[in-house]
């Protein structure tokens, strides 16, 4: 029968992730944005077993994919910019193995693996795998002659706590793309999983912004009563909550589908999560008014994060194309 419950063990893992996120990510998000993610956080991530979960370690097989999505949302809710390099560092080798590459620090989906790709949240990764939806891929060592690393990005943008680098691979004359065999279907599973990771993370960012704004509107007094008692504000809060709820259940369903090899719903979940996150984070800033625009509150950071994350890995254009 239809059932939305997690097992007791899964619930504990989700709570563990939330606790880890609060202590190691949320509390230091602003510092990480300037200095990059502290290496000790990577170590702590491994010590509590979350990197094993991200890496799809066989010991973690009891944790279902819907539960993993909730773990991702909990971590991204704490701080998506910190979550992304942690998770991708652990998971990228597994994703790369799907196309026969190894020792990869970050997997990137792109339309043309031989073109410059702009910024990526590498989190210290030295080897990047560029995969095209149609099956070509390039493994590039960004500190050798394979690719140009153009330095740390200093300002603007989002999800930059883990170390965003503006990079570009060299032209196709320098790098020969590998081509997957025609019968290979692995890239679809890879694309589905990456889209689901992004979708769950976007739900996490949206949830963070929603919760913060909801608390604020109950405390802030305008025209003699809490902001929450103005119907224009209340309806906005309700619309944001509904959008997130819709995206959340789609992510859970798509994760369940992924477990059984059904891949198409991941794209739908991703598109819905992008919509929800962009709405929730921009309205998060809106609900705080001028305060929301200032960096004294995290909502402006979450708005940048949601926008940046939803541009990664082909963004909505590629997803809409695949959803047709």
């Amino acid at each position: 029968m239809i059932d939305f419950a997690l097992s007791e063990e899964e619930q504990l893992v989700v709570e563990l992730a939330a606790d880890f996120g609060e202590r190691h990510l949320r509390a230091h998000a602003r510092r990480h944005e300037v200095e990059g993610l502290d290496p000790a956080v990577h170590q702590a991530f491994a010590e509590v077993g979350l990197s094993a979960l991200a890496a799809d370690d066989p010991d973690m097989s009891e944790i279902s994919w819907p539960a993993r999505m909730q773990v991702i949302s909990a971590l991204a809710r704490a701080d998506c910019g910190g979550f992304l390099p942690l998770w991708m560092k652990a998971r990228s080798p597994g994703l790369a193995a799907m196309v026969g590459a190894e020792e990869v620090g970050f997997v990137h989906l792109c339309d043309d693996a031989t073109e410059d790709v702009g910024w990526l949240p590498l989190g210290g990764a030295k080897v990047v795998l560029f995969v095209e939806p149609d099956g070509r891929w390039i493994r590039a060592d960004i500190e050798s002659t394979d690719a140009r690393a153009l330095g740390l990005r200093a300002a603007g943008g989002g999800v930059r706590r883990g170390g965003v680098r503006t990079i570009g691979v060299r032209s196709s004359q320098d790098l020969t793309p590998n081509v997957l065999t025609p019968h290979a279907s692995t890239p679809h599973a890879l694309i589905a999983e990456i889209r689901l990771i992004a979708a769950a993370a976007l739900v996490g960012i949206a949830t963070a912004s929603r919760d913060y704004a909801e608390k604020y509107v109950q405390e802030r007094i305008t025209f003699g009563r809490p902001l929450s008692n103005h119907q224009g504000v209340a309806f906005l809060v309700a619309d944001v909550a509904m959008a997130i709820a819709g995206a959340e259940v789609l992510v859970l369903k798509a994760a369940k589908d992924l477990e059984s090899g059904v891949l198409g719903t991941a794209t739908d979940a991703y598109l819905e999560a992008v919509e929800a996150a962009l709405l929730a984070t921009s309205q998060g800033v809106q609900l705080l008014g001028g305060h929301g625009f200032m960096d004294e509150h995290p909502v402006e950071m979450w708005m940048r994060d949601a926008r940046a994350l939803s541009l990664l890995w082909g963004g909505v254009d590629a997803a809409r194309r695949d959803a047709r």
């Binding site: 509107v217 809490p226 929450s228 119907q231 709820a245 959803a323």
Partner: protein
């Protein structure tokens, strides 16, 4: 987690599909063309009763003791209901709610009636001599969303209650065996003064003022009722409502039925998707690529939103089955799915273009029909107030004063 329709429900799901395709869709379109519901003596209703596919298939009648006595165990009534409601509404939402049975009028009797009242008012629905319906009468001309303002008055007089007032937009109000009428025993008490009374058809002073003509859902009967010195036995006051559960009882009913309304919107959106995609497959062969891409984008959006709406309805139903407070989730499902349903029908019409404007196309009917779901059982605005109240403690002007 599990997102599969259980094996046990699949046979009845298949039956509902068959009923929908064979009867509900064609009869719903007939009613739409006539701009009026099928009369109560239409042969279909007797046939429906005879074949056993009365309103009971939505899960209200068959297991009432097991389902409505709170033994603390999870049940599957609500989940089963949303699955079947989606399928029935896929074929025709108006006709689905017109199948004989107590429907919305039965729920408050179940929730708030005593054993004698359940037997007296609901047992006749088990007979097969003729089709029967029941109604739920709360809305008034000046009290729609703001139900605390209902002014239909109930005054005790010896062994009777005397009702005076008007009710409007009442489904099955004209053909119902009885209507559960919400009235106040003291307007100054607001919601605390609300009581629910069963008023049986033929009671002196109870008249049907008119059956409404509507933009959509023409198969569904919507009536205005008038109560003038309408005397009913004291025993017709639903016991639970007299114990302070009046307003709460009504809301409890909605928390059960709103996921079903959401599921109905999902079913209608799915019908819109199927119609539009079938049309697109034949009509856009050889058309320019840009047109085709836009059609595909619209179809993909409908499909995605349908799935989101369905899962929200399922989640609210799952909570109801597990005795968890689902007021917020039911409101979310209902508001989101109703909006999505209209969007789906509208996008479908865009795909059809000028063809869609024709009133003989199902999508045009769906567009008119589905709008009602953002209004019935609490408008979209009311759902947002419920959500905001739960999330940020939003209070309405009336509550804060």
């Amino acid at each position: 987690m599990n997102f599969e329709i259980p094996t046990k429900v699949q046979p009845i799901h298949g039956i509902v599909r068959w009923i929908g395709e064979t009867y509900l869709r064609p009869l719903g379109r007939e009613a739409d063309r006539n701009h009026a519901p099928l009369p109560p003596d239409h042969p279909f209703f007797a046939e429906a009763l005879e074949k056993g596919f009365s309103g009971g298939f939505l899960g209200k009648m068959k297991k009432r003791d097991k389902d409505f006595v709170d033994d603390g165990r999870p049940r599957n009534t609500a989940r089963r209901a949303v699955i079947l409601a989606e399928e029935a509404a896929y074929w025709d939402r108006g006709m689905a709610t017109m199948l004989p049975g107590p429907g919305l009028g039965g729920a408050p009797v179940m929730f708030m009636g005593n054993d004698e009242q359940k037997t007296r008012f609901l047992d006749p629905f088990r007979k097969k001599d003729r089709p029967r319906w029941a109604a739920f009468a709360m809305t008034e001309p000046n009290a729609g969303s703001d139900v605390a303002r209902i002014r239909t008055k109930a005054v005790a007089d010896g062994n009777h209650w005397v009702l005076n007032g008007e009710k409007c937009f009442i489904s099955n109000g004209a053909r119902g065996e009885f209507a559960v009428v919400w009235a106040t025993v003291d307007p100054a008490l607001g919601r605390a003064g609300h009581r629910a009374f069963v008023v049986e058809k033929g009671t002196p002073g109870f008249t049907v003022a008119r059956v409404e003509t509507k933009m959509g859902l023409c198969a569904s009967e919507t009536a205005s009722l008038v109560f003038e010195d309408c005397r009913i036995p004291k025993e017709n006051l639903l016991e639970g409502s007299a114990k302070g559960a009046g307003f709460k009882g009504a809301m409890q009913t909605f928390n059960m039925t709103r996921p079903m309304v959401a599921a109905m919107a999902v079913g209608m959106a799915r019908a819109a998707y199927d119609e539009a995609s079938t049309y697109a497959k034949t009509a856009f062969t050889g058309n320019s690529a840009w047109r085709l891409e836009r059609v595909q984008d619209r179809l993909a959006e409908i499909r995605r939103k349908v799935e989101a709406g369905r899962l929200l309805a399922w989640k609210a139903a799952w909570q109801a089955d597990h005795r968890r407070d689902n007021a917020q989730e039911a409101a979310m499902a209902k508001a989101a799915a109703a909006t999505m349903g209209l969007r789906a029908a509208s996008l479908g019409l865009e795909i059809l273009g000028e063809t869609g404007g024709s009133s003989d196309h199902l999508l045009e009917k769906l567009f008119r029909d589905v709008k009602a779901l953002d209004i019935v059982e609490g408008t979209g605005q009311i759902q947002r107030i419920i959500i905001a109240r739960r999330r940020i403690g939003h209070t309405t002007v009336q509550e804060s004063s």
